[in-house]
């Protein structure tokens, strides 16, 4: 049963609504911000920084880069975070909630709590020049039906930003700005499209592989693998190799031993392909080999090859693979001639 909250009707009602009162940029169009911008953008066009250069191409002086359009009305990170926080906690009073805030809240309530910007298009009516005061007015332009995307299910929302130049002033109420904007010259627009979505549930992470039973007799083998070595136990009395590890030598009864480090080369003595049961720690079909090492013992190990290609007698070479911090294993692949 789909119990998802559906705000389709309320959202549709928001489309076309102006979002709150217009906002005025905190700074007039100024040379310092332009210099930082072109520096960061790597834009060497003299018309943004050199009055003489600007006049040479017929301008009346320095102009602001058109792509700075939104930069002139940005309020800064702290203020943005405070507003986002108020919206998320629901502490913004309804009277203070703009259409854009309402839209975001409704989308959150629908479960579309994640956001990603998908498109940003700007249109410029004319360039901005030094000393101009920019104001912006937001309008909800479009909210899509629920769509399923690669990121998850959600809605696309497009907000249109209309930018105006109004007479400079340090103190102005929201309604006063609105009054100015009503009769102001529009100098550009921006359409900003986002996807608000519920992240697709990730498939459960693969659980780690089972660990071996490590005892004082076999710890050297498992520790060796963690150090990237395939160690094979050797009787120091008669030199017989043995695997899996044991405390004594069946050939000469000596309890003294050390190990050699195998070169990891050998051939497939036998093999299986596991199809069932399928344990989540592994990928199936799962080829496993019994490898006869050139040094003379056998070892059971995973095979890095197509199960159908595995043949008894095939030459293989081990690599030591760390599956996680606690487990490293030799994995054998065919030797290509």
């Amino acid at each position: 049963m789909d119990t998802r909250i559906d705000h389709s009707v309320a959202l549709a009602a928001l489309v076309g609504q102006v979002s709150g009162e217009p906002a005025m940029g905190p700074h007039l169009v100024n040379e310092a911000m332009i210099v930082h911008w072109v520096e960061a953008m790597g834009d060497a066009n003299p018309v943004y920084v050199d009055d003489a250069g600007a006049r040479e191409v017929g301008l009346e002086g320095i102009i602001a880069p058109p792509t700075m359009l939104q930069a002139w009305v940005m309020v800064g990170l702290r203020a943005t975070l405070e507003r986002e926080s108020a919206r998320a906690s629901g502490s913004a009073k309804s009277g203070e909630e703009s259409a854009n805030d309402t839209m975001m809240r409704l989308l959150d309530e629908e479960g579309f709590t994640s956001v990603v910007a998908t498109n940003c298009e700007q249109d410029y009516d004319r360039p901005l020049v030094l000393g101009e005061q920019v104001a912006v007015q937001l309008t909800i332009e479009a909210i899509s039906d629920v769509k399923t995307t690669g990121l998850g299910t959600g809605r696309f929302a497009t907000t249109r930003y209309d930018f105006y130049v109004i007479p400079p002033s340090t103190e102005r109420s929201g309604s006063a700005i609105a009054a100015e904007v009503a009769s102001a010259e529009r100098i550009g627009t921006m359409r900003f499209r986002i996807l608000k979505f519920a992240p697709a549930p990730r498939s459960a992470p693969k659980p780690p592989r089972p660990l071996p039973s490590v005892t004082q007799d076999n710890a050297f083998f498992w520790e060796g693998l963690k150090d990237g070595e395939l160690r094979i136990q050797r009787c120091t009395s008669c030199g017989t190799l043995r695997h899996t590890p044991l405390p004594g030598c069946g050939e000469c009864q000596s309890l003294d031993w050390d190990w050699i480090v195998s070169a990891g080369a050998g051939e497939i003595y036998s093999h299986v392909t596991v199809h069932y049961p399928q344990v989540p720690s592994f990928d199936y079909p799962l080829p496993i080999g019994l490898i006869e090492l050139d040094e003379g013992t056998r070892i059971v190990a995973n095979l890095d090859m197509n199960p159908d290609d595995v043949k008894i007698g095939m030459r293989v070479q081990a690599s030591i693979v760390a599956f996680d911090d606690e487990l490293s294993l030799p994995v054998f692949a065919p030797v290509t001639a």
């Binding site: 660990l211 490590v214 007799d217 496993i288």
Partner: protein
Amino acid sequence: MSSHRFAGEVAIVGIGATEFSKASGRSELRLATEAVKAAIADAGITPDQVGGMVTYSSETNPDVDIARALGIGDLTFFSRIHYGGGAACATVQQAALAVDAGVADYVVCYRAFNERSGNRFGAGVQGRAPIANAEMAHLGSYMPVGLLTPASWVAMAAQRYMHVTGTTSADLANIAIADRKHAATNPKAWFYEQPITLEDHQASRWIVEPLRLLDCCQETDGAQAIVVTSLERARDLPNAPAVIRAAAQGSGKGQDMMTSYYRDDLCGLPEMAVVGEQLWGTSGLGPADMDAAILYDHFSPYVLYQLEELGFCGKGEAKDFIKDGRIEHGGALPLNLHGGQLGEAYLHGMNGIAEGVRQVRGTAVNQVEGLDRIVVTAGTGVPTSGLVLSSDA
């Protein structure tokens, strides 16, 4: 040539089992209690006469619980045997030894589990970190690789055997076809009236290549119990005794639990040769004297190995030996006449012993006419055991 003193002096006199199902609906202890009760009744004795109890170390039902539940009195002998299904015939051997030694007069052997509805062996060994001890250290070394199940452990040896001997998957099918043919006429069998063809076998899905679903035994809920006493006492009881001509355990060179992968070759089960040598040496009988055989069949390939190790055919010849109906009812060496563990039920080999007893008594559903001697084996790939049973002639 070995000669065990108890051989020929002891007998199986009672058998009892529950139904064999996929969901018993009752506790394993209840199943064990029912089977032991039935076996005691079949033997024609009373619970207070039972002086010994033997089971597997993998059994979850304590002998003393069953004893209390059934009014079994003082126990003077109780023991458990290791290595899974390898314990089957060894329970009877231990009972025989105790009886022959005068330690107990009547000994009950039993095995009970909800192996299908409860803890499934086929689900594989699971969990991140096994216990750190020597018993887990060996088998535990295969867990990180994903070799987790009995089928996978057997398949690794079988692939080599098939490569060396030229045995094919279609050859293995002969084991499953014979088992299912016998189960088809055994009302107690899970696969009663469900024989299979070669095509069915070849179409069944891979479990672990080279083993298909129909190469693998069932998973079963159920219980089986067996009563052992001296032949002398047996002669006064209602059922014809199944005389224990030989009973033996065996572990071979390079022995591991299920994964003896470091032996000179993987085409034999040296532990079964150790068992066979004792069985034939003690009984004075040989493969040619057997009228039928119950060979442990958790996975089909190891039946071929056993035929070779017990001397029914030469090394590498089993694939031809099992052709043309030789191992089916009416053939020269009918195998697993109850349907085996592929067809009747997987009771860790104990149901096979019961079938051996029925064949000797002459009461089996797929009775071999005039049967006098039968060999029964226990779990393979592990230290194992075997029996030769005969009539009291």
